[in-house]
Amino acid sequence: MRHTIQIRHSREGGSNIEPLIREYEIKANDFTHAGEASSSMKRSLIRIGVNPEHVKRAAIAMYEAEINAVIHGGGGIAIVAVSPESVTIEIIDKGPGIEDIGKAMTEGFSTAPDTAREMGFGAGMGLPNIRKNVDDLQIESELGKGTRIKLVVLFS
């Protein structure tokens, strides 16, 4: 069964940011290197002059999604596309999928194993915190096939 959820906030405006595309590999259960993709993306946004508040929102949201891919998704890839108006981040994994996206969006709900909790995660705040920091969020998940999270932060 395929589940999809989309949340969109509306904001207006734009900027003169130079377009950029990056792709990163995310390794499963590698808590030593987890976060490197988000760190690299954050540096790129700072370098091309994105407003620090937008950088921080994108970094927090991507980091949460990256950690989810490390913990739950068996690793995957992250694709970052920057346009003059926004940054779009897709995290795609081939993990077991999310059984109930509505429940997964609930603060405090978590299926994370003890290994994730030992690293300070698994409090059930990942997806709700992503939603809080982005302007557009789409989650597609199919049991047994994987999950694709697409998030957008507008530069305005």
């Binding site: 808590f31 300070g120 705040m125």
Partner: protein, 118 residues
Amino acid sequence: MKILECAELLNARVIVMTENSDIEISVACGSDLMSDVMAFSGATNQMMLTGLVNPQTIRTAEMLDVKIIVFVRGKVPDENMCDLARDKGISLLSTPLTLFTSCGILYKSGIRGKEEAI
């Protein structure tokens, strides 16, 4: 308050000192759960206190632009964490005090959580 004043108040050892040693600390957060730090602590903390010692502590601070981490209960980061912190411009302290006591001392000295941040 400067980082060295915080270190003195907490009887803390400076493990990593970066070029941010002069920043003024007025807002801080304390938690062992990085998920909660990202979800609840707001975006203006200069300092994070935690008993969690692993690379994700540094990563979380990096994402939130936190410039100083105080490890409580005598926890000490390993060399890999120190290298990562240096690379990200994050200073590290280690205090033998508990999280509760450390936060209490800093609060009494004028540092606030996001709820009371000016």
